[in-house]
């Protein structure tokens, strides 16, 4: 491309070359850079509900807009919504659903729900480009919840989780997943 420019112009001024470079060559280089953009994924927050709808744990990483209601009300709203969505989806679905994973996406965020066989629900809000969330939620369940809550004799399974170790490990696992970027979207 640079050769083409040099051959076309008899007298090549620095200025002209620069503007031609910007116009013709840079776009090709930038095109190659584009795929990296899709890795700008962020995780916003996480809710953990037990089988009766009680909020066991809430964690937040980036949240720019508050919902304007108390934590309890927000938790109830969230649980009510996922409960109705789950029953709606199973009734309307044209095929048999066995997966415990469901998600909906708006143009700004994506809500992912993972339900374990013991009816524990992990709800994770991420941005729309996040990949591999099902595996991440499964990992959170097996490597963090089971290890640090089920095995902790002082954590009652139907009460809000107070273990600091659980909080630390949860944070660690989320931060080292590829779906978490420190740049806010």
């Amino acid at each position: 491309m640079t050769g083409l420019i040099r051959r076309t112009f008899v007298a090549l001024d620095e200025e002209i070359f620069k503007s031609l470079y910007v116009a013709l060559i840079r776009p090709h280089l930038e095109y190659a850079n584009q795929p990296r953009r899709h890795c700008e994924m962020t995780i916003y927050n996480l809710y953990l509900f037990d089988r009766d709808g009680q909020l066991l744990y809430y964690a937040e990483w980036t949240r720019k807009k508050q919902s304007g209601m108390t934590k309890d009300e927000e938790a109830k709203l969230m649980y009510g919504m996922i409960f109705s969505m789950k029953s709606f989806v199973t009734k309307v679905s044209p095929v048999d659903l066995r997966e415990g994973y469901m998600s909906y996406a708006t143009n700004k965020y994506c809500l992912n729900l993972y339900e374990t066989p013991s009816k524990l629900k992990f709800v994770l809000n991420t941005d729309t480009h996040a990949q591999g969330i099902k595996e991440l939620l499964h990992q959170l369940y097996t490597q963090v919840y089971v290890e640090y809550v089920v095995f902790n004799p002082l954590c009652s399974l139907n009460k809000p989780i107070e273990s600091e170790l659980f909080a630390t490990k949860l944070d660690e696992v989320v931060k080292q997943s590829p779906a978490y970027a420190s740049r806010p979207a």
Binding site: E147, Y148, F151, N152, P153, L154, S163, E164, L165, T168
Partner: protein, 155 residues
């Protein structure tokens, strides 16, 4: 791997069972757990040392406790053994298996001794059947590390 989890859960339930009821004092409950450990340790050591020969001296017995017994029950060895050669031995475990899932620091510190009582009894029972009378106490300052102090009663 599954067998360890069964022991962990039974132990957790034993601790909460012993603390059930309103009038149970901490000491009573802890001593019940210690007795359970003693009886278990007494028979366990008989079963585990079936094949090995007699032990040369007390220090050898302590080393056996630190290595073989801990590996059999908790799948790891004791990290540090100290003694003053006058009958006091201190066993350090930096990641005691029954405490690793609880906390990493000071949270739940007041409840930690309950989960060590059974093990204290276990060690006492093992030593008793090997001919060493002693008193075993445990101390936790920073989960999940803990120290077991063995004081041998002589004479």
């Amino acid at each position: 791997m599954a067998e360890e989890t069964v022991f962990d859960f039974i132990h957790m339930e034993a601790v909460s069972y012993v603390f059930q009821g309103e009038k149970v004092s901490e000491d009573e409950a802890v001593s019940k757990l210690e007795h359970m450990g003693f009886a278990t340790g007494y028979r366990l050591v008989e079963r585990l040392t079936r094949e090995s020969g007699r032990y040369k001296d007390e220090l050898d017995i302590m080393k056996y406790i630190c290595k073989d017994l801990w590996v059999t029950v908790y799948k790891k060895q004791i990290d540090n053994l100290r003694t003053n050669h006058q009958g006091v031995y201190v066993l350090h475990d930096n990641r005691f298996r029954l405490l690793t899932h609880m906390a990493n620091g000071k949270q739940y510190l007041q409840y930690a001794p309950r989960y060590l009582a059974f093990t204290c009894g276990l060690v006492r029972g093992c030593l008793a059947n090997l001919g060493v009378t002693c008193v075993v106490t445990a101390e936790v300052t920073h989960l999940p590390a803990c120290k077991f102090q063995i004081q041998v009663q002589r004479g």
